[in-house]
Amino acid sequence: MSVAIDVQVVSKRFRLYHQKYTSLKERVVHGGHVPFEEFWALEDVSAEITAGQTVGILGRNGSGKSTLLKCIAGILQPTAGQVVVRGQLAAMLELGAGFQPELSGRDNIYLNGSLLGLSTKEIDRRFDEIVAFAELEQFIDNQVKYYSSGMYVRLGFAVAVSVEPDVLLVDEVLAVGDERFQQKCMDRIQQFQRDGRTIVVVSHSPDLMRDICDTVLVLDRGKRVTMAPAGEAIRIFRERLIESGFASAPPPPDPAEPSAGSAPVEITTKRRTVQLLGANASYARQDERNYVETGEPIDIRVDFDVASPISGVQFKITLMTERGAIVFSSTSSGAVAGMPLDIGHGAATFMFDSMVLLDGRFSATFEVRDSGGVVLDILDPGCDFEVMNPGRAIGIVGLPMRVEVTPPGSSELPQAASSAR
């Protein structure tokens, strides 16, 4: 396989001026010394991107991912090292960059197209396609200054994707336009992939990466962390995030306020018969990592104190996403539920044989009720746990699934009934 983009030990230094002196007088007055701090946006980053691959550059804000993209594009020159790009390159860093408001859409297609490296002939040939893709047939001869922002962006994208580069660089500009237009954009990207073009995408959205990238390069503070298949790279990226405390860390338990929290039910009635003390999640290799991988078993345990003997209590667990959407809620039942509890300390453990949740941080809250359904105590927040998905699926839940494709022309089409399992 040949290399389409060869990033060779690239470093980029920025100077952060405390006060920018851009006039000669100011520089002279300050004796030519402008106070600045050096800041390495990229440090010795190397990467080889094979032709035909879709590669993501992942990192949080300020990790140098956009700088690297600009170095590949040739917008910034690396301070040290070099980038070798084979084939025609087009960069989509900003849609409609260089549009002239005074000129018509037609003129702007030609101007923008040639900025992106299209020849006049190529633009002539694709002109109708571009206009149709942007859905601007009626307005193409109007001045761009009268366009709505949506029209502007659509035109920008239509011109950008009409370039048929060997290497396409995309910054997070895909989130434009309405849903339908976004879908068109994604289709276009996939078309590029099928054509065997090399694509480099910069994003801080792991989901997008998982969806479209083969390989992901993870950057952190200007340094290469890893370059690996999407699932693994995203796992490493999120590990880093958690380590550096950027992912929402579990809120520290507040001893002053044991359990009431934001409970919707008042439980101040005298002494609690059963009191929930705290909860924690346990899973394999917990000492060396702080997440559970999708598919692995996990146990979530809630500790309680019983003040007076009681029987028939039910424990309820609720799992929520970070945004508070309930993904699962269930109550202990059957033999466990009827178990008489003596005074003292006990624990209820919710055991999941296989974690079906995908990426994200989830929280568990708990409730305990007596046999009549009266809430005895609530534990909220209970405990948080992080799930890391090594696979390619995105979303909240990894549903078990198989795919069967019946090629056209084969005699037996699967019956509708047979696919229902």
Binding site: Q77, G87, E94
Partner: protein, 332 residues
């Protein structure tokens, strides 16, 4: 494929989607990456490579020049006519002041002025515009990769287009006055035009780059141009200077200094070709010399020297540009 390409512009979005991609006629055979041209992004790119990249972007250059022309006079009633009106008014003012107020005895003074102004106008309109062009186009400089020299060069291109408009006016002028230029000096004028473009490009590229770091440059340029204008023989006669310095005081070195200004030979060459009078009989004086009595050979020699200087300046300007270009995107 045929069916797809039949689909009209108004066809539904879905059809369009299927149709959009690879160039008409299906996916072109993709050359193996080994054959693909490659590009190196680094802080050390050789001059030859830069020149090649500029040459490859010549269509962009054309579009940028067209854009300048269109945008400049968009929504104005007179449009491109302004590009001729502006120098025409300047010409008229100078003509009235020098001919009638200061009693300049030069015959056909308007034509004399015009020949010199042609040269100067290119210089004086392009340089302020190109000093600020990188800063003014920060939007694309920060987001699109293209050889940035194209920006100042397109300013030069725009200036040259205006120069041609003015030359048309000049031609009408000559026709109107039934005045014949000195055809034998036309090659000299053309040579001077080449020099002028090279020289202007060198200054334009240099100034556009430096202005990113020192924004005073664009203001400084405006001031310096004011002074410079009087350092070249456009409204006064070269011969006055010559007489004063050489014949009366023998300040040969001062004369050399005067001639070192690369714009002077260009102005002289244009005047020699379009205006043409060297010696004229003037009623008050027996003999009035307007232009220097240099031979064609000497003109060519001067112009060659300017060309060499211009090319050297251009190379120097591109080197400076190349050195600091890498940081444009962050400095803007």
């Amino acid at each position: 494929m045929a069916m797809a390409s039949e689909a009209g512009v108004s066809a539904s979005v879905d059809t369009q989607l299927d149709e959009l991609p690879p160039a008409a006629g299906g996916t072109p055979p993709r050359p193996s990456p080994r054959e693909l041209p490659y590009r190196v992004v680094s802080s050390k790119v050789r001059l030859g490579v830069r020149v090649r990249e500029i040459w490859e972007s010549r269509e962009l250059f054309v579009f940028l020049v067209r854009k300048e022309l269109k945008v400049k006079y968009k929504s104005s009633v007179l449009g491109l006519l302004w590009s001729m009106l502006n120098p025409a008014v300047v010409l008229m003012v100078y003509y009235v002041v020098f001919k009638y107020v200061l009693k300049n005895p030069t015959p056909d003074f308007a034509l004399y002025l015009f020949s010199g102004l042609l040269v100067w106008n290119l210089f004086a309109t392009v340089l302020p515009g190109s000093s600020s062009t990188i800063v003014a186009n920060a939007g694309i400089v920060k987001k699109v990769a293209f050889p940035r020299e194209i920006l100042p060069l397109s300013q030069v291109g725009t200036g040259v287009v205006f120069l041609f408009f003015q030359m048309i006016v000049m031609a009408l002028f000559l026709l109107g006055f039934q005045y014949s230029p000195d055809w034998s000096y036309l090659p000299v004028a053309l040579f001077a035009l080449v020099d002028l473009i090279v020289l202007t490009a060198a200054f334009a590229i240099f100034l556009s780059a430096v202005n990113v770091y020192y924004r005073d440059v664009e203001h400084l340029v405006a001031v310096l141009l004011q002074a410079w204008f009087w350092g070249i023989p456009v409204v006064y006669n070269f011969n006055l200077v010559y007489t004063e310095l050489v014949k009366l005081h023998s300040f040969h070195w001062l004369m050399d200094l005067y001639l070192i200004d690369p714009v002077t030979p260009l102005v002289l060459a244009f005047q020699r070709a379009f205006y043409g009078h060297v010696d004229v009989a003037v009623p008050s004086q027996a003999h009035y010399q307007v232009l220097a009595g240099y031979s064609a050979g000497f003109y060519l020699e001067m112009l060659l020297a300017v060309l060499v200087a211009g090319v050297l300046l251009l190379v120097g300007a591109m080197k400076v540009f190349g050195r600091i270009e890498g940081n444009f995107a962050e400095e803007l």
